[in-house]
């Protein structure tokens, strides 16, 4: 189900779309506004062109956004005017998408002119270099993030993002509805957009068109937000557990102890994975809550399966030490004396 997902990634974005994005929380002002912003950024990483300015362009990642901090600006300022132009020319001969000056640094008008001649936009920000790079890298990471769409139901259960997958008609939407009724929050149903962030996080969202509509077989479309209010929904949530629902199959081995939790990789991100057989009389909603709570316990350091296994080991050890075993008059079940209730 979650193998061979079709993924979508942008491989390039224009400088203009970055600069004009309302999501970019970095104040930027273009120093040479005459230069068009049509160059493409093709890499989410940033680059500080220190060695390139010093003349070594062997591994110069010119296709990245070039960030000029104190080092670059002070280095250029330390050079004589002619040397400075030469140093700057070494890097602008490459197809650089744009240059960002941090700390409100002033740039030599001559250098600005050279950049303009090469069609390279220069921006200045009041933020210091570390903050600039952090904000911009985060933004570009999202822009270049891998995305995919899966057919599932996604609910926040006690703060844990659980995604239910399984064949069409197995009851994913009904479980989502049941969880909402019990006070949990619907992220989306049927069409889940997963976005990979920072290599190890998947964020699930619904689509703009569908938002919190769900289809209940026999009823049709229902708007969960209108019906249950804003506390019953959320717009995005980190995905942590995948629960695959399937008709109970007597030939499948289901996990019985929980000692070896299974994982599944989605877009290369490992997630907790539980294969849950559906049986008459089995309340999947309550089980989903227990899955979330057990996950939380494990996260906080208490692994029920592990604790039980240790208990059993200790008991077996104690008995073999006593050698005599049950013949010592000890009973398997404790007996409470004088308790006649």
């Amino acid at each position: 189900m979650l193998a061979n997902l079709q993924t979508i990634t942008q491989d390039r974005i224009t400088v203009a779309s970055v600069i004009n994005s309302p999501l970019l929380r970095l104040p930027l002002r273009q120093v040479n506004p005459a230069v068009a912003l049509e160059r493409y950024i093709t890499d989410k990483s940033l680059h500080r062109p220190q060695l390139a300015l010093a003349g070594y362009v062997g591994l110069f990642t010119y296709h990245r956004v070039q960030v000029f901090g104190n080092t670059e600006v002070n280095y250029l300022n330390s050079l004589a005017a002619k040397k400075r132009r030469e140093a700057f020319r070494t890097i602008v001969q490459f197809e650089i998408p744009c240059i960002i000056l941090t700390n409100n640094h002033k740039f030599d008008p001559e250098l600005i002119q050279i950049a303009s001649d090469h069609g390279i936009p220069i921006f200045v920000t009041p933020y210091e270099t570390t903050r600039t790079m952090y904000v911009l890298a985060e933004f570009l990471d999202t822009q270049f993030a891998e995305q995919t769409v899966v057919h599932a139901s996604f609910v926040d259960v006690y703060g844990i993002g659980i995604m239910f997958t399984g064949k069409s008609g197995i009851g994913k939407s009904e479980i989502a509805l049941d969880l909402v009724e019990r006070g949990h929050r619907l992220v989306a149903d049927d069409v889940i957009l997963l976005t990979k962030k920072r290599d190890d996080v998947l964020i699930g969202t619904g689509t703009k068109l569908v938002e919190h509509f769900i289809e209940v077989r026999g009823l049709g479309l229902i708007d969960v937000r209108q019906m249950f209010g804003v506390r019953a929904i959320r717009f995005q949530k980190r995905l942590e557990i995948v629960v695959e629902l399937e008709q109970w199959d007597p030939n499948t081995q289901y996990n019985r102890t929980g000692l070896d939790p299974e994982n599944i990789e989605v877009l290369g991100v490992p997630l907790a994975y539980i294969k849950l057989p559906i049986l008459p009389g089995k309340n999947i909603t309550v089980i989903a809550e227990v899955i979330a709570l057990n996950y939380l316990l494990r996260l906080y350091g208490y692994d029920a399966a592990q604790v039980f296994a240790e208990r059993l080991d200790a008991e077996i050890k104690r008995k073999s030490a006593a050698a005599a075993g049950l013949s010592s008059g000890e009973r398997m079940f404790p007996h409470f004396h004088n308790d006649f209730e």
Binding site: Q6, T7, V149, S168, G169, D190, L209, F213, I214
Partner: protein, 87 residues
């Protein structure tokens, strides 16, 4: 596994009613049936999935079928798209 490209012939696009008709057709089959557009793929048995595509007049969708009855399913799906949802 079969893949086939279909075109939306209806002027109003693949709107709610035809989406419901399509889902009724696809749900009859055991095969997994997907519709994709611009790299995003949705389950063709899910009404919300199909509607998410918001496929307009003349847009093209890729149908992907996988399963024992994929061939018969494809025929019915193609008939549906060919008819321009006139049924």
């Amino acid at each position: 596994m079969i893949e086939y490209i279909v075109k939306i012939k209806n002027r109003e696009g693949l709107h709610t009613r035809p989406a419901a008709m399509l889902v009724k057709i696809t749900s009859k089959f055991k095969s997994d049936i997907f519709l994709s557009r611009g790299g995003f793929s949705v389950n063709a048995k899910s009404i919300i999935g199909v509607m998410t595509l918001a496929a307009e007049h003349n847009s093209e969708l890729t149908v992907r079928l996988e399963g024992d009855d994929e061939a018969i399913a494809l025929i019915e799906v193609l008939e549906f798209f060919e008819s321009g949802f006139a049924a």
